[in-house]
Amino acid sequence: MGMKWEDFVAKHKKAFVEHWFEDVVLTYPEETVRFIKSEKNPFLNPVGAAIKEGIEGVVDWLVVGYGESKEEEGAEEEDSGLVTFLDRIIRVRAVQEFKPSEALRFIQSLKRVFRKLLASSDDEIEGGELEEFDSVVDEVMLKALDIYSACREQLYELRVQEVKNRTFRLLQRAGLVYEISGEEAGQEGRE
């Protein structure tokens, strides 16, 4: 008798997390991989810590959160932690030396990990479950794209903000900008 994909992931959760972590880490150069894997102190290895925490969170979501979000109306927006944990990883990769496609390819690894574990296990899944799992991963990928874009937009936003802050006080003192005070605006409104 085959299982649901959620049950399969739940049963093989530890291996699932390990394999996926390995896939993400291997996107870094060799010397870096050694460091990310070996340094266990999260304060000295924030990238490794973010990947680990993110991956565990997303796998938890696959096992529990996804089911909950299906049951509850409108819960998809809340996504039971999916965005939070994806953000942990993507926020880091969005500012590293990756093209957008490289930064997010690790989501697709989920499909590979699932197949690999399935092939090496005696467990079977029901017909159609593989396709079902793939479509969930596709949804996760779209969510990841939103997060990645938001991170990149924020970078440019921060840059604009910094340029403005740097010169505003000076322009103000030089009398080159005139700030309309709230009071003044209120008075004009009344007139």
């Binding site: 690894s109 921060l158 910094e162 340029v163």
Partner: protein, 541 residues
């Protein structure tokens, strides 16, 4: 029709591992966000630096002079003879790897060439090729390589990815100071007119006008007066600072960032309030209007030229000694370079606090003290009336700025002050503070906006520790004593730890300071309501 592979086979075949190449064979790619803009020629001309020209790092042709290789190698030879440290550092590294994972840029980026050992190897390989027998004989197998344009571009790229923070040097068993290797590498880069705009602009401005932004004396004074207006609004008391006043006892010099950029401006108000309350006989200078010295990120000679301005002004005004504001690299220069550059100034006196009588013996040679030690001494002697509850809306953690921490051992004084001006103070994990502190990610003149992506990488380890205390203890304020910190932390926090504000130490002092005859305060220096005053309107008072 060709047989299509099944999806399973496709997934199995995806290889995530980046191509394995030896580091010498991985070329540099200039992507926006990861390099700084090239210096404008007029900045180089202002300070007589060689080869001013228009060029861009992304250009194929950097318009290097025809004999650039000779200039570079001759410059290297001169420096190997002049700086014993440089020659020793080129020779003695055994590649033990102790430094490898200590750099914030490596930790945040995962780029192996940001391991201090490998970054230094970029230059060491040139050293071996042209200055050692083994390198000349064995070439690549001996870890040596030719100096060509690609190599030079790589040097440029990575030596502007080191903030000279010296965290790696704390861990080197041989005491190799990678910052000094970076300093020399940047000197060599400067011989070919290839500095970055964000460093050369401030250098030229500082040389011409006295501060990084090129603010002229009247505007500088105007800005300080504006702070006095704001202080009067908050406290009912108006400080009366003086400018360029001959015969004052003390000259006060702070980074110009405190005068022109939020949130440093609130720190500046803190200084003004403190000195007014003490009735301190001090003056500002509109000429020595900069504590920072970006010349230090250019060459030793340029650092020396710009550095003396503060002392020349102290001499001109006839003050007894100097108090310096909350600045980072200014203190490394004062403590570790001043005497080599110029010798101890003989026209000033050993600083003595006119309020407590404390003689600052450790400043016997430099005649300059840090405002934080001045304030700590006042508090120790009970000379300040403080109401720390005015900062009760803040749960504060403290970032040890690299230079005061690692170049001065300045750990206790800022914490002592903090604990007296606010009730909620939390330390970050010990492997990220004091001598092991992580850089803000943008020191040594890299705090420019076009470099935002790299700054986020470099600042990740620091931000990660802040995130921890933010989530665990509700920390909402990151206090620091460096103007570059105050400039670069706000965006860093926005990206990694939203909800954490950045404040200079003396901003918090200003909030807590109970001044004689002040009105009932309802807001802090930022105009935000004080804790418990959220519903109080001005009219109610």
């Amino acid at each position: 029709m060709a047989k299509l592979p099944k999806s399973d086979e496709l997934f199995q075949s995806i290889d995530h591992t980046p191509p394995e190449k030896w580091w010498m064979d991985v070329p540099v790619e200039f992507r926006p966000g990861t390099y700084c803009y090239a210096a404008k020629p007029q900045y180089l001309e202002t300070v007589d630096m060689p080869f001013p020209r228009e060029w861009r790092p992304t250009d194929e042709d950097w318009k290097l002079p025809p004999n650039w290789r000779e200039i570079f190698l001759e410059g290297m030879r001169e420096r190997l003879e002049r700086f014993r440290t440089f020659r020793v550092f080129m020779d003695i590294c055994v590649r033990c790897g102790a430094c490898a994972d200590k750099c914030h840029f490596f930790i945040g980026s995962g780029d192996p060439k940001n391991m201090p050992v490998l970054r230094a190897e970029l230059l060491r390989s040139i050293y071996r090729r042209y200055f050692t027998k083994s390198g000349k004989l064995f070439g690549r197998t001996g870890g040596a390589r030719d100096l060509d344009e690609e190599t030079f571009k790589e040097l440029w790229y990575y030596f502007f990815q080191c903030t000279e923070c010296r965290r790696c040097s704390v861990f080197c068993p041989y005491g190799i100071d990678t910052a000094e290797i970076t300093i020399i590498a940047r000197e060599l880069i400067n011989l070919l007119g290839c500095n970055i705009d964000w460093i050369m602009g401030p250098v030229a401005n500082c040389y011409r006008t006295g501060n990084h932004l090129g603010i002229q004396p009247h505007a500088f004074r105007d800005m300080i007066e504006f702070f006095c207006d704001e202080i009067e609004e908050v406290t009912g008391i108006r400080p009366e600072p003086t400018f360029n006043r001959k015969g004052a006892e003390i000259l006060f010099v702070t980074p110009s960032g405190d005068v022109f950029a939020d949130p440093g401006t609130y720190t500046c108000m803190g200084y003004l309030m403190l000195f007014h309350e003490l009735g301190l006989d001090y003056t500002w200078s509109t000429y020595a209007s900069e504590g920072g010295n970006f010349g230090f990120f250019t060459s030793h000679d340029m650092a020396k030229r710009l550095h003396y301005k503060i002392y020349a002004e102290a001499k001109r005004l006839g003050v007894k000694y100097i108090i310096g504001g909350e600045c980072g690299h200014m203190w490394r220069l004062i403590h570790q370079y001043l005497n080599t550059f110029w010798g101890p100034p003989d026209f000033l006196e050993v600083p003595v606090s006119p309020i407590t009588g404390t003689k600052f013996e450790h400043a016997k040679s430099t005649k300059m003290i840090h405002v934080v030690e001045f304030t700590a001494d006042l508090i120790k002697h009970g000379k300040l009336k403080l109401d720390p509850s005015r900062n009760d809306n803040r749960i504060v953690t403290f970032h040890d700025s690299c230079n005061p921490a690692r170049a001065m051992g300045f750990f206790e004084e800022p914490r002592y002050v903090l604990k007296h001006v606010c009730n909620n103070f939390v330390e970050m994990p010990p492997e990220t503070t004091r001598e092991q502190t992580f850089c803000c990610g943008a020191g040594s003149g890299l705090n420019t906006d076009e470099y935002m992506e790299m700054r986020m990488r470099g600042g990740l380890p620091r931000a990660n520790a802040v995130k921890y205390v933010h989530e665990k203890f509700g920390v909402n304020t990151l206090a620091c004593i460096c103007a570059i910190d105050r400039a670069v932390f706000p965006p860093l926090m926005d990206y990694w730890v939203p909800g954490v504000d950045v404040a200079g130490l003396h901003e918090l002092v200003g909030n807590a300071l109970v001044m004689k005859g002040e009105k009932k305060r309802t807001t802090d220096l930022r105009g935000e309501p004080l804790p418990g005053m959220e519903d109080v309107e001005d009219e109610d008072l």
